[in-house]
């Protein structure tokens, strides 16, 4: 195998690594939610609307999402094992069947984080670097985890 060919292979592999890399994502919730951590299955149940109240509590789960696609959103849904388009079809089905509303969508991570801080029962996801001490971090999702 020629040296040039090997270099091309290395370049392709590196390129693939770059394009599939995901950001470190923190799943955050309002400081008063009655749990300290969350499992992947539980998180999926929250986001598809199977569970609509916090465990051992009457507090309603207010699910928050980012409007625009990006590393953070992609990383979060990759962790859940669903594409964002698949999630939208699940939400639309629930909405049209009268089973619940879709998440609240936010233009930026800052706006989402502020809503989680202000709203009892709210849960969302932001880049780990954006997290402040006024919310609970229920789980940290590492690069490519899922």
């Amino acid at each position: 195998m020629s040296l040039r060919f090997k270099k091309e292979i290395v370049m392709v592999v590196l390129l693939c690594c770059v394009t599939t890399a995901t950001a470190q994502v923190a799943v955050v919730a309002h400081k008063d939610v009655p749990i300290e951590s969350i499992s992947k299955d539980q998180l999926l149940d929250f986001y598809i609307g199977d569970i609509q109240a916090w465990p051992s509590s009457e507090l309603e789960i207010v699910v928050c999402d980012l409007r625009e696609k990006g590393d953070v959103k992609d990383g979060f849904y990759q962790y859940l094992g669903k594409s964002s388009s698949r999630m939208r079809s699940i939400w639309l089905k629930r909405k049209l069947a009268g089973e619940g509303n879709p998440p609240l969508f936010f233009q930026s991570e800052e706006a989402l984080l502020q809503h989680v801080i202000d709203t009892p029962g709210a849960i969302g996801f932001v880049h780990l670097s954006k997290v402040t001490g006024t919310v609970k971090v229920l789980i940290e999702i590492d690069d490519g985890e899922g």
Partner: protein
């Protein structure tokens, strides 16, 4: 934002300056009322009344081997108006009006139905109770068959196609309405166990047929007998795999079709008393399987309809001395293989099979009848417009179907065979508002 979340205030504040001057007092009053309302809502977790809906406009061309059945047609195939009120996390009311086939009362076209009107109490994911008119859970598609924005089809799998109800007896195959339903799901290791159980009326015990025959003005749509529809589904969900079995049991006015004489002929059950043709026990058994793998998806269902028919002996015995009987078997199944090209484009191929086989042994006729409709279909769904949150608002659909229809009577007195082939081309625009 998604539909229904628009603030009340935004509806009350037109921007035209004339409006602002003349109706300032009204505006102030509205603002006061709104703020009072908002306070009450905040206390009771009520949300404003949400109104939304969808419609599907279709153009279709049917090219049939029967010359008279060729057609070009455009129509508003279906329009649904939905009103939803959330009283609290547990309580919600839902009303769905459905207009079919270019509804026009002046032209006597189509139909306008109260499709759903129910109130829901959701304790948690394990138990939801619904009371009121509703479409019960049966297999995979029944509950969402009228949600056209969710489906890729121009024409849905045949027994789910409400706009064909004049030609296909939809209600024979699927339960169309129930009045009480309990459903929920339980975690089961890595899966979820879903259940649903419901009660309703036997849908056609009292029909127009009774009024015409007996002259007694029974109130149609109200079941004055003791018969009910009972049914349910048990299913399992694991990641993107979903399987389930469903069943219903009800009474049916099925034998009426054998009592009404055909034009210029005699009915098969002529002379039979009315009480003997009511309430034939009918059982539906269904199974569904659907899964997704990467960009591929598969949806499939099978439904068998079984009748327990006792033909009254008042008709007398058959010429060979045996007792009269009628056996009917209805069978439907479909499978749709889909491929999601990207977030906007979905392609699919589908096969539907419908069969009604009858074995008729009554004094005036001994015959076997078999009606088979097969549908080979391919289609595409393309999202033309998505809102800011990525939900499809305007969707284009295209579908081609090849439909061979076979009808055969094999009788002692005569034989009859008919074969017709239909090529169906359909285009549709589906709008969610």
């Amino acid at each position: 934002m998604f539909f229904g979340r628009r603030s009340w205030l935004s509806w009350l504040l037109p921007s035209h300056p004339f409006f602002c001057k003349v109706h300032l007092s009204t505006l102030i009053l509205c603002c006061v009322l709104w703020s009072c309302g908002a306070e009450v809502l905040a206390q009771s977790q009520e949300t404003p009344l949400q109104t939304f809906g969808y419609f599907q406009v279709t153009f279709r061309h049917d090219d049939s081997t029967e010359e008279q059945d060729r057609a070009n047609s455009s129509s508003v195939q279906q329009l649904n108006l939905i009103f939803q009120k959330t009283f609290s996390r547990e309580w919600l009311a839902f009303i769905n009006f459905e207009l079919l086939n270019n509804f026009s009362s002046s032209r006597r076209w189509g139909s306008f139905d109260l499709d759903e009107a129910w109130v829901r109490y959701r304790a948690d994911q394990r138990l939801t109770l619904k009371a009121g008119l509703q479409v019960p859970i049966f297999n995979h598609l029944n509950e969402i068959k009228n949600r056209t924005p969710l489906l890729p089809y121009v024409i849905r799998p045949l027994i789910y196609e409400e706009s064909f109800s004049e030609f296909v007896n939809v209600e024979e195959f699927i339960p169309e309405r129930a009045f009480f339903q309990a459903n929920g799901s339980f975690p089961l290791k890595n899966a979820r166990l879903d259940y649903a159980a419901y009660l309703g009326n036997s849908p056609n015990i009292n029909s127009q047929f009774d009024n015409q025959r007996t002259g007694i003005a029974r109130q149609t749509g109200v079941d004055t007998t003791t018969t009910v529809l009972v049914g349910g589904r048990i299913g399992l969900r694991m990641d993107e795999l979903k399987v389930g079995i469903s069943s219903t049991r009800e009474s049916d006015n099925f034998l009426r079709t054998f009592v009404e004489p055909p034009e210029g002929g005699v009915s098969l059950l002529q002379g039979i008393s009315e009480e003997n043709i009511r309430g034939v026990p009918k059982t539906r058994i269904g199974a569904d399987l659907s899964f997704r793998y990467r960009k591929f998806s598969l949806e499939s269902e099978v439904i068998a309809v079984l009748y327990n028919i006792d033909v009254p002996t008042e008709l007398g015995l058959l010429p060979d001395g045996s007792e009269p009987h009628i056996d009917i078997d209805r069978l439907f199944y479909y499978g749709t293989l889909g491929f999601e090209v990207d977030e906007r484009l979905f392609l699919y191929g589908s096969y539907w099979f419908t069969q009604e086989a009858s074995e008729i042994r009554v004094p005036v006729q001994v015959a076997d009848e078999d009606l088979t409709i097969k549908v080979f279909s391919v289609g595409a769904r393309y999202s033309v417009l998505q809102d800011d949150d990525g939900f499809d608002r305007i969707t284009m659909k295209a579908q081609y179907a090849f439909v061979p229809i076979n009808f055969q009577i094999d009788g002692e007195m005569f034989d009859f065979t008919s074969r017709q082939e239909v090529h169906f081309f359909g285009l549709a625009i589906s709008v969610l508002f």
